[in-house]
Amino acid sequence: MDRAIIVDHLVKNFEVTVKGPGLRGAISSIISPKRKVVRALKNISFTIQPGELVGFIGPNGAGKTTTLKILSGLLYPTSGFTQVLEFDPWDRRPEFLKQISLVMGQKNQLWWDLPAIETFELNRAIYEIPKRDYEETLKELTELLQVEKLLNIQVRRLSLGQRMKLELVAALLHKPKILFLDEPTIGLDLIAQEKMREFIYEYNKRNGASILLTSHNMDDLINLARRVIVIDEGRIVFDGALEELVNRFAKEKIIKIFLSEEVDIKRIEAIGKVKKIAFPEVVLSVPRSATAVAAAELLQNFPVEDLTIEEVPVEEIVRKVFRGEMRSRVLKK
């Protein structure tokens, strides 16, 4: 098997009922419901190799989650060809389901009123995981995510972050070869995000699993994905190495400084483009190649208390992409 996932000319349309606002809209939608076809995916194609970790980015409603749902067999494609591990996902055969997992930021498969361990035990039975493998995997996962102490607490009593980690354990007990992650770090604090990333990276390395990940978090993508697929309005507008995307579209970096006393803003403007002033905080953007020089200059010549260098948020790059800068020359690997 040289391709873990094949998507070829995939199209998905949804039929939705349109409702006007207010009471009048509600009544008229009962009498003569207006239907509208939403074209969620317009002919997309890509392939993913075994063991590859691919970031899937795009604005809300671009079709990322729809693609993940089709690939895990939840949605019926309108047309086109999809194959995952040589299975047709829509058949949802047990042998297929035992090798994949879909984790969504707001999804809860854990039984709300019971401790997480009950759900884990249930999954062990459903996925027919041998007892020894199960115990080993459970130990490994709970240690990696540091949730050993949470297993016997009612899920409803846990915080969002704790729950997310346990959701991840539940989704990985059967050691899927293909992992679909939809916003895995959403709602987590920075430390938990970091842990989650480390974990995903580790899981990919250890198990040689293919991972398709959607995120609005640039760090997720920078640290994890070598390759990204940008999707917009149901079309793939970029498919290639992440550096290529960032270099091409994030020509600048963001420097944030905190000043201990007020200074002449004009002097700072000589160093880079000032994007925001809210004393003591000043945000400026500088060309990528000049970042180090600019930072050094700031530290030397200004009363800087704190300085951070950040990437332009992926949203901004993606927005640039969407403004049409990419549409004319769609890149494919």
Binding site: T65, L74, L102, Q106, W111, R124, A125
Partner: protein, 269 residues
């Protein structure tokens, strides 16, 4: 199909019921209250022990009332009422992603609910029996008892089929789950199955029509059989009719499910 999967589903579902202890107790109280009401109603109608109405004497009508308690627990207790919500919220996704059969999954959960309810029904019946000291008709004909058991199995299957069909309406109308459920569970099933009063009370023509619907086979027909109120050949006819309904419902269910799945949008995430 591996049985251990479903045993685990049964266990967790059973444990889950205990998480809603108060809910469960109130549900049982409702059942007992209903039996009280119906019992006293019929008890006063049949205050004269020699009186016969609709072919029931005092013993048989009061046995009917107690029969309702058990058969309700066995046939009408179900967890599958949650399916409609699961579909409209998109939580169906969780089960679809797992290597487990969706219908069998819910049937197992229903069985665990039935087991729990049946345990309580036995205790309640014992208490009610001590309080009310009703006369009780004991069926001793072994053939009839076997037919009664077969009818109960079919009744469970018919109810499961109807309930699942009703619960699939949100595939097409996401907001409709609750209303459809209430109409079906609260009104149609209760009245047409004989859970409120024996169906003999209806005019003969309505009874004839009802015979061709699945509802009498949920409760009324099995109880009629137990009470020996009908001939052996009618009993066998009823067994046949139940079996036909089971088959019809399974076929319809598979068809509707396949259609519904194509419409499912896995929303809410």
């Amino acid at each position: 199909m591996s049985l251990s999967k479903y045993i685990s589903v049964f266990k967790i579902s059973f444990v889950q019921e205990f998480a809603y202890r108060l809910n469960f107790v109130m549900w049982r109280v409702r059942n007992v209250m209903q039996i009280f009401l119906v019992f006293f109603l019929w008890d006063s109608v049949f205050s004269d022990p020699t009186r016969q109405v609709f072919g029931y004497n005092r013993d048989k009508i009061l046995t009917y009332v107690f029969g309702i308690l058990f058969i309700r627990a066995l046939v009408f207790s179900a967890r599958a009422v949650d399916i409609a919500g699961e579909i409209s919220r998109g939580d169906l996704t969780n089960v679809l992603l797992k290597p487990i059969n969706y219908f069998r999954y819910w049937f197992t959960r229903d069985l665990s609910s039935k087991a729990l309810n049946l345990c309580f029904a036995v205790i309640e019946a014992a208490i009610l029996f001590l309080i009310l000291k009703p006369p009780f008709f004991l069926q001793t004909d072994f053939r009839i008892l076997i037919l009664f058991a077969v009818l109960l199995v079919f009744a469970v299957l018919i109810f499961f089929g109807l309930l699942l069909l009703i619960n699939m309406t949100p595939f097409w109308a996401p907001e409709s789950g609750w209303a459809a459920q209430f109409l079906f569970m609260g009104i149609i099933t209760e009245f047409l199955s004989g859970a409120v009063f024996p169906l003999d009370i209806f005019p003969a023509t309505i009874q004839k029509v009802l015979q061709f619907s699945p509802f009498p086979y949920l409760l009324f027909f099995p109880l009629q059989t137990y009470l020996g109120k009908i001939s052996l050949s009618s009993m066998l006819g009823g067994v046949l009719a139940s079996a036909v309904w089971v088959i019809i419902l399974i076929l319809t269910l598979n068809y509707v499910w396949a259609k519904g799945m194509r419409r499912y949008a896995a929303e809410g995430r």
